[in-house]
Structure formats: structure tokens, C-alpha cells
Amino acid sequence: MIHPDVVFDHIDINQARRFVDLSALAQPNPHVLYVLHDKGKVLKAWDSRKGKVSVGPTLAPSMELAEDLKRRHQVEEVQLIDRDAYYQYLRQALDLEKARELNGYDFKDRAKDLKARQGNGFLIHPAREKYDYYHYTDRTRRFISQKLKPDCVFLLGAYTSEEWWVSVMTVFSGGQMVYLSTFEYFPAEKLASPDSIPTHEGLVKAAALAFRKPAFGMFLPRETFENFGKNQWRGLGQTPLLVEKA
């Protein structure tokens, strides 16, 4: 999704801060029961909201047990982690040759996918394919792959009548992001009247001209953007997709 030599510049830090703060509101914070064990001998059990808990001195890890613990401890997720299996997972995930070969997001994806293939020694229930931990990244990638052309400029602007509240301009080449800025990239005169359609049209035209690529824009009032952002996380398995909204 992102080229290794991507350029990020002309970024308005106040807009970036607003985006970060909005994202934080919508981050998942699932209720998880972690059980660390050594070939069935329980070393520690930790509830992410209640702290140390007891699950007994030994266990035989299985999906059924994980489901039972999920129900009994009233958590959203259970992780049963045998230390040796965890180390084995790390050896698979941290493959230096794969790091050289893949882009950063594909490397992360690979590491994530491997978690679902570790058997009962490294068991995460429910399986992670059912939801996105890195939902912003994942959904943004889906949006890019499904809705945008491989070579284009995409603009997103959230505005009030006074200012650009958040803005992003991304340039794609061969399906990879090669450039990102806020609208600070443009001369000030093009940014006046942020809530007017002629301004939006002018920005799209200017972007297409500057990068010699087709340009697309999504412009929406600040309140709409904020509501959209806040609603991005509704709990496990209930994530409205950016592609659906778009």
C-alpha cells in the first residue's frame, strides 16, 4: 500500500493531531483474558480489565476450553499461550528474508495471518479473521484497492465554514502510495471558502494537473467526518467498513 520511499510533507500538524485524536476515540480496546502456560502448566492468567485471575493450575488448551473461559470470564477474547509455541510463532513471523521481500504492511499482514495457524499452543479465540485489530489500516487498504485506480490522486477534506479541519492528499503510483500531504500543499488562495463546491472542484483539478494523474475528492463537513470516525469501532465483529460508507 505504501511505497518504502514514500514522501510525507506539507503536513499541517494541527490537522494531523485532530486526526490522531479522532482515531484514538475509535480504537478497539477489547476485553481479553490472557493465559500464559508452559505445556499446560498455568504460569499466569490476566484479565485486561480485572487484573490477575485464576483459571486453575493446569489446562489442556482447545477451542472448546477457550470458549468456556470466554463465557465464564465474560470477556470478548481469550488467548491461551504456551511459551514455547509463542516462541515458535515469533520465529516464523520474524523472517528477515520476508522483511526484505515484502513491503511493511504485507509483512505485518503475514505476521498477523500466522497467528491463526499456530494450533492449540497459541490459540486466540475468536479467530482474528472475524474482526480487525488494525481496522483503520485494513479498511483503508480495502478502500484503496477496491475504489481507487492504481495511478491517481485522492483528496479527503473535512471542513467548517472557517477552515480545513482535516485534509489529506495522497498520490498513488502502481497501486502504492508514493506521496502524502495535507492541503497545505496548495497555495493559500486555492484553500479559501473550504465549504464551497467550487473550491473543492478547484482543488481536484489542481491536484490532477500537478501530478498528471486522475484526481478524486471526498469533501464533507467536520461533523459528518467526526461522526464517521467515532463510529468506526463498535465492538468485535461489528465494524462498519469504510468501503460500505463510501
Binding site: V20, D95, A99, A111
Partner: protein, 704 residues
């Protein structure tokens, strides 16, 4: 030959006898159009800076192994032209030539061939190679024990050294050099993540050899039967079940501290061998002050470093940590320096802590308020992957930022702030031994590719200590710092690795203690008391040395009327002849809250000309009484508790900093008549009362 030296607590001493305050900011020459360099440097000068700083990126200048480009084809890589531009602009220059620089570059400034070389990449406890799963490209975290890393780095240094040599002050502008960058395991301080590279394991064995001299001496401590150091493999998780098993794990932590400092010694030595010398060498730990980052040890002379600073990037709401860091540097370093203080923030990846000008207006003077004397603002000039600086890459001025720096720098210059002395009757020491122990007690470590809560990792099976240290240590240390701030105590901070000289000059030293504390740290505290100071300990008096063997320098605190049992003797420990200290011993998990466990009695004992006080239970009235007895008074009486306050002296005058770390205006009447020196343009003053705006720092001179 020494051209430039460090003037303790002041700045850089130049050969002409002048002291140069170290107030600098960063500009990455290769990321801006060379046609703009002179104008950008002029704008930096116009903000009131006399010094500028730059990384010099190995990975940017290397075109193939052993061949380098310094502007012959690409003007933006013309390092020497940039250096001369700084000289012509009358700016001193600080250089940071790596080998590691980070600089938000895809491979942290290394050539790609280095970060994918399995012989150089660090190993993890799992047996995996250590991969930095960064966006937009993952790469290997390097082992700083790798012999190949140094032989490859030598090629870079060979090429760069002639340029640096001919531009050292006074012939050129270079006045200081940073040895590597944020050295130490790439933001992964956990004990058992790194570094298990075969070269690192060789270094570990060498370290044990240096520490113990003979394998028999090691066996005496470990209770083991090794026949050579080469048989010893490092721990990969904590599994001891008795005190006697601890030294093996603690030594791994000590080794990791030593690896950092030893690698800095080697890299600094490589510069000196190439004639780049005669200027201060410094290092910037990335932030934490606990193991494996041992700033006190690193600066104590054996590693060729003149100054060890700490980097800091925080929002204003995290002001307690920022103040603590500045106070730590003030109490630990000969030149309290933050080599990277956030002026703007990186934009890839976006960070939850992204700080804006509103944050910087508060946190920047806050640093100086708590004793900082030198700073480098990172960055003054924006560029790829950086936002929120006073100058853009194409040299446009962000006026609000620009004016802030100009105003603050004018204050520092006009008042001669670098010559002010922080009032500090109290020295708060972090307990480095306890912090190292906490790092060692992990049965499993979380990892960037799979989050595990820190608490899950703490080993549960052995009940080695009276308290659950992972809970009690941070609770006591947090209470201690919050109390010191709200009571406006005149203080500095450091840790128990500090030399005795850093304790001297204070009326009292206060350290949170449990059973274990190193012999030297205990001896320093005792000597401080013997010479007339007050030592405040607690909740437990130290009763074990760094090997977990019975040892206490504070037997005077033994309370004969407390019915108690001694700590168990460490398994396999040899007899020391020292008596175990008998401290009150609730069972593990008890006595945590106020009123529990029966530890309401403060114990006090005379030692030489001074005394030692044991705070066995957290109680603010008890703490207050202990500090009053030690002669510790607030910098000014009757200040509102929500304010922060520090005091300075210079030339027979007194100065005060007040910070309002809240979102509401605070009004109060100071006990002294004060004259404003720095108000951030928004503090109101009447004859008697002060009105401090939300999130503001102001500076005042006491009227005579």
C-alpha cells in the same frame, strides 16, 4: 588536543575562554534544496540560535559498499558545503554521524545491505532474528556486539573523518559529536527480547569474565558448577525459585547495560583513531532511565562520553514525566542535555502523542524550570516525514513557532540563564537496582508483533520478596514524585547508580527501597548520612546486596521489638559474615494500603553526623515530618498545590519559575514581591497577586 570541553552545568567551553550555551536545533541538509541552505540558516539565526545540528546519514551517502557520494554528483549530499554554510552564518555545528541515526528514514540511516545481513542483525530469545516491523518497510534490528557491524561502520567513518577533521572548531564550526544515536535495542528495553546474536553471547561471557575474574567466583555467587565462562548461556526468561537464583538473571540485565556503554566506547574510539577528537562526545538515550539504560554509569568516564542526555517527545499533559526527566538530568549529568526535544513530530507513522505548538509553549520552559541547561530542538526545519517546525523545507516561516523560539531564546540570552543555579536541597534517587530486578522477573515478554500486557509477564511462582514489587515500586515512586511536585520542594533527581559526588551538596537524599540494593549504592547513602545528611528510605530498609545476599549498611534501623523473621538465605550463597537485616515482614501481598499491616511506625537512627529515616508506610504527614526534620522547605511558602514551582540563584539574586499545569487560571499571592522576566506574553500581574493562565510557565525575579 582539546579544543572544546564541557563547562559543567553551563555549556561548552570554547578555546577563546567563552562559554557557549548549548541551545541548538536540527536541520537535515540533504532533505532541503542546497540553494536554500544559506537562507534557512539565516532564519535559524534570526530565531536566536547560535548552534545548529544535523545527522549525517551513512545510507544516504553510500552509493555502494565502500564508495560514497559527498556532492560530486548530487548537490544535496555536499556535506562540506553545508558545514561551510553554517560556519559562514556564524553558527556552531553539532554532528550526529551514526552509524545509527533513525531520522525517520526507511532503514534508520543504515544502508539496506546492513539491515538485512543476518550476521549483523540481533537475535531474540525465541531464536528469531530481530525484525523491526516498521511501516513502510520492515528491517533487521542490529546487534551492537556484531564484529561485522564495526568493520562495515569503519568504511563509513574512514570516508567521513577527513571532512569532519578539517571542520572542527575553531577552524570550522563543529563543536560536538554524538556517538551513534539512541543506542540500545531500538526502543525494546525488555530484558529477554534482545540480544542473542552469537557475537552478543560472546560479549556476555566476556562481561561475566570482567565482572567475576574467575569462574569460581561466579560459581560462588550463582551456586553453580561451571568450569569456564564459555559454558554459560544467557537466560531467555525468568525461572528462578529462590533468591540464590537471582544473580544469573540480574547479570544478563547488567550485561545489556554494559553492551550499550561498551559499544559507545568502541564507536567513540573509532572517531578518535581517525583524528576526530578535541570536542565533546555525547549520546542520547531514547528516554527511559532504567535498565538497560544506565546514564550515570555511561557518563562516569570509562566509556569516553562527556555527556549522556535523554530525548523527549511529550504532550503537555504528560508534564510530570517531562519535569522528572529534566530533574533527573540536572541531578545526573555534568551538562543536563536533551539532544532531541520535540519541535514538531514525525508524520510516518502518525503518533498518538503528536504534540503541537500549544504543547511546546508549556513543555519547553518546563524543562529549563527543572534544571535543564542544554537542548537541541528536533526539528527546526520540516522535511519529508516531519511536521510542525518553525521553518518549512522550502524555508517558509511558521510565524507562531518562529516567534515562540525567538521570544524564549531572547529570555535565555538576556538573563544569562545558563549561569543560574537550581536550588536543590533534596535529591530524589530512583532505585536502579529495583528497576533492574523488575526487568529480570519476566516469564515472558510481549512483542511488537504480538501485544501482551506487561503484567502478564511477571513471574508468579516464586515469592522472593515481601511485596509484589511490580505494583509497590511504581506506587511508591509515583507517590514520591507527586508529593515532591505538589509541595514545591527544591530538588534534583538521579538514581542509585549515581556517584557519591552527586549526593553531596544536598540536605537529604530520598530513595524508595525494598530488600535489594547494591553494596556501593548503600555505602554511598551511609557515607552521605555519616557526613551530616539525612537519608530517607522505605518502605523497607535494604537488607540484600546486588547478589541477593544478606547485606545492609543500615543496621541502626533494626528494631529489636519487632517480632520478625529474617529473609531466607540465598541458595548457594557463600557466607558473608554480615547479619541479615530484620525488617518488618508482612506476607507477600499484605500491607499495601494505608492502615494495613501494622507499619505505621517511622524508624529513625543516627548515623555519624546525620541520620537515616525509614518510611515503612506511605503517609503524607509522616513524609512531611521527615522532610521538615531534614531541613527541606518549599521553594516558596503558601503556593497553591496545583502549581509547580522551582527556584534558582545567581549573582546574589533569587529567581522563581511557576508553572500552571491545568486548564484553568490560577491566582495566588506570593510571599515575595516578584518582578516578571518571562511571562509568555500572557501572565497578568498586580501589585500583590499573580494570575497564571492555563498551561503557562512564567519566570520571576525576587525584588530585593
Amino acid at each position: 588536543m582539546s579544543r572544546v570541553t564541557v563547562q559543567p552545568q553551563r555549556g561548552l567551553a570554547l578555546p577563546n575562554g567563552r562559554v557557549q550555551p548549548w541551545i541548538s536545533g536540527t536541520f537535515h541538509y540533504w532533505r532541503s534544496d542546497p540553494q536554500l541552505w544559506s537562507d534557512i540558516l539565516s532564519n535559524i539565526k534570526a530565531m536566536g540560535f547560535d548552534m545548529v545540528e544535523t545527522y549525517i546519514p551513512w545510507g544516504v551517502h553510500e552509493i555502494e559498499r565502500g564508495r560514497f557520494e559527498f556532492g560530486e554528483k548530487e548537490p544535496r549530499k555536499n556535506l562540506e558545503k553545508f558545514i561551510q554554510s553554517a560556519h559562514q552564518a556564524d553558527l556552531k555545528l553539532v554532528v550526529r554521524p551514526g552509524p545509527h541515526i533513525n531520522a525517520e528514514l526507511t532503514y534508520f540511516g543504515y544502508p539496506p545491505r546492513i539491515v538485512y545481513d543476518p550476521g549483523i542483525v540481533a537475535g531474540e530469545a525465541s531464536g528469531a532474528l530481530s525484525v523491526h516491523d516498521a511501516a513502510p518497510k520492515a528491517f533487521g534490528n542490529l546487534s551492537y556486539a556484531s564484529a561485522k557491524l564495526y568493520s562495515e561502520t569503519a568504511l563509513w567513518f574512514d570516508a567521513l573523518a577527513p571532512i569532519l577533521r578539517r571542520n572542527l572548531h575553531p577552524e570550522g564550526p563543529i563543536v560536538a559529536l554524538q556517538v551513534d544515536n539512541e543506542t540500545g535495542y531500538y526502543f525494546r528495553p525488555a530484558a529477554y527480547l534482545m540480544d542473542y546474536n552469537p557475537d552478543s553471547i560472546r560479549w556476555y561471557r566476556t562481561f561475566l569474565g570482567k565482572r567475576y575474574g574467575t569462574v569460581q567466583a561466579l560459581n560462588d555467587v550463582y551456586g553453580s558448577r561451571y568450569s569456564s565462562f564459555g559454558e554459560i548461556n544467557p537466560p531467555r526468561f525468568f525461572a528462578a525459585e529462590a533468591l540464590g537464583g537471582l544473580p544469573y538473571y540480574l547479570d544478563w540485565g547488567r550485561y545489556k547495560e554494559w553492551q550499550i556503554n561498551e559499544s559507545l566506547r568502541i564507536i567513540g574510539g573509532m572517531w578518535r583513531e581517525r583524528g576526530v577528537d578535541g570536542i565533546p562526545f555525547f549520546q542520547n538515550f531514547y528516554g527511559p532511565t532504567d535498565s538497560p539504560y544506565n546514564a550515570n554509569e555511561a557518563e562516569q568516564g570509562a566509556y569516553g562520553l562527556d555527556v549522556v542526555g535523554l530525548d523527549d517527545y511529550q504532550r503537555k499533559e504528560v508534564f510530570r514525566a517531562t519535569a522528572r526527566k529534566a530533574a533527573y538530568l540536572a541531578g545526573s549529568s555534568r551538562l543536563p542535555l536533551i539532544p532531541e526535544f520535540g519541535s514538531g513530530c514525525w508524520s510516518l507513522p502518525l503518533w498518538e502523542n503528536t504534540m503541537t505548538l500549544e504543547d511546546q509553549r508549556f513543555t519547553t520552559p518546563l524543562l529549563f524550570m527543572f534544571g535543564l541547561k542544554a537542548v537541541n530542538y528536533y526539528m527546526l526545519v520540516e522535511r519529508d516525514r516531519w511536521m510542525g517546525s518553525p521553518l518549512t523545507a522550502d524555508n517558509r516561516i511558521r510565524h507562531a513557532y518562529f516567534d515562540f523560539y525567538r521570544h524564549w531564546n531572547a529570555f535565555l540570552r538576556k538573563t544569562g540563564f545558563h549561569e543560574w543555579d537550581l536550588r536543590s536541597d533534596l535529591l530524589i534517587l530512583a532505585n536502579y537496582d529495583t528497576e533492574r530486578l523488575l526487568k529480570a522477573l519476566k516469564a515472558v515478554e510481549g512483542h511488537p508483533v504480538h501485544f501482551l500486557p506487561d503484567e502478564l509477564g511477571f513471574a508468579e511462582s516464586p515469592s522472593l520478596f515481601k511485596y509484589r514489587l511490580e505494583e509497590e515500586h511504581p506506587r511508591w515512586a509515583g507517590n514520591q514524585w507527586d508529593y515532591a511536585l505538589k509541595r514545591h520542594l527544591p530538588l534534583r533527581c538521579s538514581d542509585t547508580a549515581a556517584s557519591f559526588g552527586k549526593l553531596q551538596g544536598h540536605k537529604a537524599v530520598w530513595v524508595v527501597t525494598f530488600e535489594m540494593m547494591g553494596n556501593k549504592a548503600q555505602e554511598n547513602l551511609r557515607r552521605f548520612a555519616e557526613e551530616g545528611g539525612t537519608v530517607i528510605l522505605g518502605p523497607l530498609a535494604p537488607s540484600l546486596d546486588e547478589h541477593a545476599r544478606p547485606f545492609s549498611c543500615f543496621d541502626e534501623l533494626r528494631s529489636p521489638d519487632v517480632n520478625d523473621t529474617p529473609n531466607p538465605l540465598p541458595q548457594g550463597a557463600r557466607e558473608t559474615g554480615l547479619k541479615p537485616f530484620l525488617a518488618p515482614s508482612p506476607s507477600r501481598g499484605e500491607g499495601r494500603g494505608e492502615g494495613e499491616g501494622g507499619f505505621t511506625t517511622k524508624t529513625e537512627a543516627r548515623i555519624g553526623k546525620g541520620k537515616v529515616i525509614l518510611l515503612s508506610k506511605w503517609s503524607e504527614p509522616t513524609v512531611e515530618k521527615a522532610l521538615q526534620e531534614a531541613g527541606i522547605r518549599p521553594v516558596m511558602d503558601s503556593l497553591p498545590g496545583e502549581l509547580l514551582a522551582t527556584g534558582f540563584t545567581h549573582g546574589g539574586k533569587e529567581f522563581f519559575f511557576f508553572a500552571n499545569p491545568t486548564g484553568r487560571t490560577v491566582e495566588f499571592t506570593p510571599g515575595r514581591k516578584l518582578l516578571p522576566l518571562y511571562t509568555g506574553n500572557d501572565a497578568k500581574q498586580s501589585t500583590d497577586s499573580l494570575s497564571l493562565h492555563p498551561w503557562s510557565v512564567t519566570v520571576w525575579e525576587a525584588a530585593l
